[in-house]
């Protein structure tokens, strides 16, 4: 299972925020739906206090109205969406999303994703994989582009969030297009959607498997544990493998020999040659 990925879906709550927020955002989303620019959502109904509609991630392309100018775009998105909704992973994922939403006191997409990953991590990853596949297909058929980059929030103001991507690039995104709490150092995914000449970026949460986080933490803990050196000799200052003593030559000279080879060192020579 991949360690982290971007969620393959978003809900009506994120879309409303991206489209201006509040009642205006909701009206805009409904207008896009009516115009067929958004694929038909999966209606999860009312969960706790929230009405939840699930959209595949590529619905973000519909937020760019220029999509209407591409022949067959709407039909292609709906076809892709239909296929996704038939996948077993989708059903498992929606159940996990409902479970996760029931625990939310206020809408928090990041928390929703975290809860869904805890309940159906494998299905989430499988669904994400299918969405990536569908996005590639749409890219080939329609000439639109989807790209996911990972990074961390470097700074957040009332208007923008600055994201430092792992590539080193810095991206500035309007706060309205940020679906996570804009805390500095928070890990995020930057979804970039290009339709014709227009590109929009959206800041989304990152899916982490808590279980794998724990495994990873354990691994790092093991490799950073104090050194143990079996079969090595620790002398006063250094560690080295103490070699077996060389095969001893059993005889000794009866007296030292004073050789006449001294004063012939080539090593003190620093002449010109190479």
């Amino acid at each position: 299972m991949a360690m982290s990925s971007a969620p393959g879906f978003l809900t009506n709550h994120e879309l409303d925020r991206f489209l201006g927020g509040g009642a205006a955002g909701q009206r805009q989303r409904l207008r896009l739906l009516k115009d067929g620019l958004l694929p038909a959502p999966e209606d999860l109904g009312r969960v706790q206090r929230f009405n939840i509609d699930l959209f595949p991630r590529f619905a973000l392309a519909g937020c760019v109205r220029d999509l209407a100018g591409i022949d067959g775009a709407i039909a292609a998105m709906n076809d892709a969406n239909l296929k996704l909704r038939q996948a077993a992973a989708f059903k498992e994922m929606t159940a996990a999303v409902c479970e996760s939403a029931r625990l939310l006191a206020a809408w928090d997409f990041d928390e929703l994703i975290r809860g869904a990953v805890e309940r159906a991590g494998e299905a989430m990853v499988e669904y994400d994989r299918l969405v990536v596949h569908a996005e590639r297909d749409l890219q080939e058929r329609l000439g639109i582009a989807f790209r996911t980059d990972f990074g961390v929030i470097a700074a957040a103001t009332q208007a923008f969030v600055d994201v430092t991507l792992h590539s080193g690039e810095m991206a500035r995104v309007p706060l309205a297009r940020c679906a996570v709490a804009a805390h500095e150092h928070a890990e995020v995914a930057l979804e970039r959607v290009s339709v014709l000449a227009k590109e929009l970026g959206y800041v989304m949460p990152v899916e982490h498997s808590a279980e794998q986080d724990e495994e990873l933490a354990a691994w790092f803990s093991a490799v950073s544990a104090p050194m143990r050196v079996p079969n090595l000799v620790m002398s006063a200052d250094a560690i080295r493998s103490e070699p077996d003593s060389v095969e001893g030559f059993p005889y000794r000279r009866p007296r030292p020999r004073s050789g006449r080879w001294h004063g012939a060192s080539t090593m003190t020579r620093t002449g010109i040659s190479t």
Binding site: G151, V152, A154, T164, H166, G168, H185, E187, D213, L216, A217, W219, F220, S221, V223, S224, M227, V229, M234, S235, A236, D237, A238, I239, R240, S241, P243, S245, V246, G248, F249, Y251, R253, P254, R255, P256, R257, S258, G259, R260, W261, H262, G263, A264, S265, T266, M267, T268, R269, T270, G271, I272, S273, T274
Partner: protein, 304 residues
């Protein structure tokens, strides 16, 4: 060993130029070697923005440098040439001492010391120092082990220092040049000669230390066991012949080499230098001939 070394001092402050026998004390001087698990590594510095998360996993506080991640799973790049190797190191990971084993002429070329129009390039060979107790150090002096050279004590070196000639590693000349100030001591010529003879014995099984031992083995054969005074005296004559060849090769012919270079570079005239060199070499050859004849006679007498 060290019969002719005298009392010292055996070391001096590092000279301007890096030379054979210089002892470095530098953080990058690692006793590195490869095993069959050696693989090329890709990767590199993790962006500082991500390092804190990795640090949390590692239960470490990382400084501003962040952390580097390397793996054979990442694509290896020819410009960095990282590879997985092994190293012997101190438990505290502190800097290592190592002695330069590449000869001074090669070091000067690699480090562009006194070389006009040359750039710093190549690699230099180092023997790491290990540190043994007094008893082991004395044992290494008493019973020669060609792979290990015990260094005479000095306050600037850790006690019981031993140059591990059997664990040599190479360092890039560019980094040696950059860290040339991180030398603890330079060897004085007499100690440098001892190290050279020891190194020759280890690396090529030739030179004074190797032939002295082999001559003693002949004395063992002649005595059919514990070498007698007489047998040792005979075989010492054989070693004396080889002393003469060592001087002929290492001093006389090297001086000729230097003279030729001086002539080639227009610094001296051949006519000024050659006669004296010829006289010296011919004299050495006659000395060698006389020593060889005497040694042969002495050996032949053992058969009677």
């Amino acid at each position: 060993m060290f019969e002719d070394l005298g009392e010292g001092p055996h070391y001096e402050p590092p000279g301007e130029h890096v030379a054979f026998g210089d002892v470095f004390h530098s953080a990058f001087m690692r006793d590195v070697f490869v095993r069959s698990d050696c693989e090329l590594l890709g990767g590199g510095p993790l962006p500082p923005t991500l390092a804190p998360r990795v640090a949390r996993w590692m239960n470490h506080q990382l400084d501003e440098r962040g952390i580097d991640l390397y793996s054979p799973a990442f694509t290896a790049k020819p410009d960095t040439r990282w590879a997985l190797a092994h190293a012997a190191f101190k438990p505290d990971g502190l800097a290592l001492h190592a002695v330069l084993i590449s000869d001074s002429c090669l070091a000067s070329t690699a480090l562009a010391q006194g070389r006009v129009g040359r750039s710093v390039a190549g690699r230099l060979l180092f023997a790491p120092l290990s540190f043994v107790d007094e008893q082991k150090w004395s044992e290494l002096v008493e019973k020669e082990d060609f792979g290990r050279f015990p260094l005479p004590p000095d306050e600037r070196l850790p006690d019981g220092s031993v140059a591990e000639l059997a664990c040599c590693f190479m360092a890039d000349a560019r980094d040696v040049k950059e860290h040339a100030a991180e030398r603890a001591v330079s060897m004085r010529p007499a100690l440098g000669e001892e190290l050279e003879a020891h190194w020759s014995a280890y690396a090529t099984r030739r030179g004074p230390r190797a032939y002295e031992r082999n001559a003693l083995k002949l004395a063992v054969l002649l005595s059919n066991g514990e070498p007698s005074e007489h047998a040792v005296a005979v075989t010492d004559q054989l070693a004396g012949v080889l002393d003469c060849t060592w001087v002929l090769e290492g001093r006389d012919l090297e001086d000729i080499s230097e003279a030729e270079e001086a002539v080639r570079h227009g610094e001296r005239q051949a006519a000024d230098l050659t006669p004296a060199l010829v006289r010296r070499v011919s004299g050495r050859l006659r000395e060698l001939s006389a020593l060889a004849m005497a040694a042969a006679d002495a050996l032949e007498r053992t058969e009677k």
